[in-house]
Amino acid sequence: MSKELYQKIFFLSPFFLLMLLVIFPLFYSIYISFFKGFLESFCGLENYFYLFQDPRFISTIKVTLTFTIITVTSQTLIGLLLAFVLLQPEVKNKSFWQTIFLLPLVIPPIVAGVMFKILYHPSFGPFSYLSMIKISPPLWLEDPNLAIISVSLINNWMWTPFTFLIFYTGMRAIPHEIIESANLDGASGLDILTKIIFPYIKTLILIAILFRSIDNLIAFDEIMGSTAGGPAFATTTFAIYIYKLAFKSWDLGYASAASVILFIITTTIAIILIKLTYFRR
């Protein structure tokens, strides 16, 4: 075999792998979405038609977007704050704090979900001790308004370290002299953060938002582990809804149609964020 042929094979292999592992499942999913059940009978766009009339589907869009907005906003802000605090020369044992902050990242999300389910439990968790001082324990996972906050807290606990890591790395790359001279010129902490650090790490912030948004639009494990989409339907996100359609109802056509919609929403948001990140400069 000639060298050129080898080169072609080596260059084309990743392309075919990509086609096989990414593009084919995507198109197959779109194909299935035109059938009832699992390729039982062709139904055209019927699944999409029913989907937009399905109150459960509309509700999952709201829940997913609420969850994503809460988590991405808080993870970005807390991550920035933690990174900024750790950057201060007054903070000692930086390595120790970094390790502590990053610990939740190594815990599997499903484990985190179950762990928090126990922690939140009003009868068996630590909050149950509040009843000893005549205070009713908060119903973290039982109150439909609080449940979305509670699962967001789990997600924040798990993923704020990720945003922190990105921001901290970015902040440490800022030339030290710039911050020192700003300090000498009498700039406040807020000035340094907003006028020096932000412009430097703006792209990193957008990248963190991009990653966290995509990830949280398809959040599943920690919610399944803690609430399984409840109470009622208060935390039933897109991913949980699709999972139930596919593997509980075995309505794979309908589930695929919902997946295609999720894909379109996620891709649209991702494209907007990518444009903001890379093409705004």
Partner: protein, 484 residues
């Protein structure tokens, strides 16, 4: 130039090594697969026990003496992990010993089992000969023609096992258990599933020692049960009057089912699959369930088996809905504050009826299995007097043979002793199971979601049931159950 030559040689060598390794593995694997020694030469029994919710088994191998006359065969069973699947082990072992059969008992979690069964059978897989299923899920498998009719192929039906258990495993089910899906109407009924473990439904449990202290009698109606719950409710202690499962979906749907029947709902759906659960009787019944829930611990909407069993074990509750199959070992086990003090009874009556809800775990035989005859033999052994005695005495499960309930060596077991009197009454009352449909997993998610929404106060009983009825009707129209 020499460098380029070296790279060429390196790349070639690299390809040779990689190609050779892959080819070696493939050829080695193929030879290994083809040259597997016939089972007859193996004198080991393999018992597979998986306690995690994965399909990867941990294999324990022990040597037994084979029966020389019969060729060694293998039977592969897909069952439940945890306490629900434990009592079977000794029966399977004994059958294996006597028949020279290697039993591979692979156990996975409840949630995965229904999914796994559909995936395997949809693909026509003969991987497992016997597959466990919770009773609401086997109709889908039977309707698709993936299960063998057990009665037709030699399962010996005996009158010693209550009729309702045979009926529960039949498809289509008898009319007294509710409507049949349109596609299955008129089909010849057969037994496709052997209902045998867990359940058989939701009992009412009440602490008799506490009733005696307050000179209260055992409740005959739900109103009296409500009074008991009120009397003992003292959250400051904390001590609660009532407990059950409140999680959305199947748990709350199953635990509240008898309230619907007792208040006058004959079935969840009429003959044409129009919902009946949101009728005025259904609303009244569910309101009673919600009234009792006011005297429950604060986390009730997230309570499953573990949580409600813990309330009894910790001695923090006087009464509740209890499922023997799920929790009897915990509640009556050593260290439980309620052990020996709880009356397990057929639930109290409502204004219109006194009906229990029926639900058990079943064993089914894969139509694609290559060992159907052996699988049927195992089921026959399992329900035989010997098999059921081993199941009860060595396995620690409650036997489904009625005659065994009266045998002292079986009913003296402190774990199960309190269960038997109520068990007979329960099964003789012809309890009604969940709606017999191929679509219950979808329906119960909607229905149980709205029941949970009412439990957390998001909707009233009527609003929740109406919304569930509306959404389920839309779903049933979409899949063709309801025309027009």
């Amino acid at each position: 130039m020499s460098g380029e030559k070296e790279r060429k040689i390196n790349r070639r060598n690299y390809l040779k090594v990689v190609g050779g390794t892959v080819a070696g593995l493939v050829i080695g694997g193929a030879i290994g697969y083809l040259s597997r020694a016939p089972a007859v030469e193996r004198i080991t029994e393999t018992k597979t026990i998986t306690v995690t919710q994965t399909i990867t088994p941990t294999t324990i191998t022990q040597t037994i003496t084979p029966t020389p006359t019969k060729p060694r065969r293998t039977l592969k069973i897909l069952g439940f992990s945890g306490a629900l699947g434990d009592p079977h082990i000794k029966v399977f072992e004994k059958f294996g010993e006597e028949n020279n059969v290697e039993i591979q008992y692979i156990r996975i979690g409840y949630d995965e089992l229904a999914e796994k069964a559909v995936s395997l059978l949809e693909a026509g897989s003969s991987e497992f000969d016997i597959i466990f299923q919770d009773d609401p899920f086997f109709p889908r498998l039977a309707s698709k023609g993936w299960l063998v009719p057990l009665d037709e192929l030699g399962l010996k039906k005996t009158a010693d096992i209550p009729d309702v258990l045979w009926d529960l495993g039949s498809w289509p089910t008898p009319p007294y258990m509710g409507p049949v899906p349109p596609a299955d109407k008129g089909k010849e009924p057969h037994i496709y599933a052997l209902a045998h473990a867990g359940g058989p439904g939701e009992f009412y449990g009440v602490r008799t020692d506490l009733l005696e202290e307050k000179k209260l009698s055992i409740p005959k109606t739900w109103d009296e049960a409500l009074e008991i719950a009120k009397t003992f409710y003292d959250p400051a202690k904390p001590f609660y009057g009532w407990v059950c499962r409140g999680i959305k979906g199947d748990p709350i749907a199953f635990d509240s089912a008898c309230f619907f029947y007792d208040y006058g709902v004959p079935y969840f759906f009429d003959e044409n699959w129009r919902p009946l659960f949101n009728s005025p009787e259904g609303v009244e019944g569910f309101e009673m369930f919600l009234k009792l829930a006011k005297y429950a611990p604060p986390g009730l909407p997230t309570y499953g088996c573990t949580e409600y069993a813990l309330e009894f074990v910790n001695g923090r509750v006087v009464s509740g809905m209890i499922n023997p199959g799920d929790v009897v070992r915990d509640i009556e086990g050593p260290g439980s504050a309620s052990a020996g003090k709880l009356l397990w009874m057929f639930p109290p009556a409502g204004p219109k009826a006194r009906k229990g809800v029926l639900g058990l775990f079943t064993m089914t035989v894969n139509k694609f299995s290559k060992n159907i005859d052996l699988a049927i033999d195992l089921l026959n052994y399992f329900i035989s007097e010997e098999g059921q005695t081993i199941y009860a005495l060595k396995g620690g499960g409650w036997p489904i043979r009625r005659s065994l309930w009266e045998k002292p060596e079986i009913n003296k077991n402190p774990l199960f002793k309190p269960l038997y009197p109520g068990l007979m009454e329960y099964l003789d009352s012809k309890p009604i199971p969940y709606p017999r449909t191929t679509e219950w997993l979808t329906m119960v998610d909607i229905y149980g979601g709205y029941l949970n929404a009412a439990l957390i106060g998001q909707y009233t009983a009527k609003e929740a049931l109406d919304k569930a009825a509306e959404e389920i009707t839309a779903y049933l129209k979409r899949i063709g159950y309801i025309k027009g």
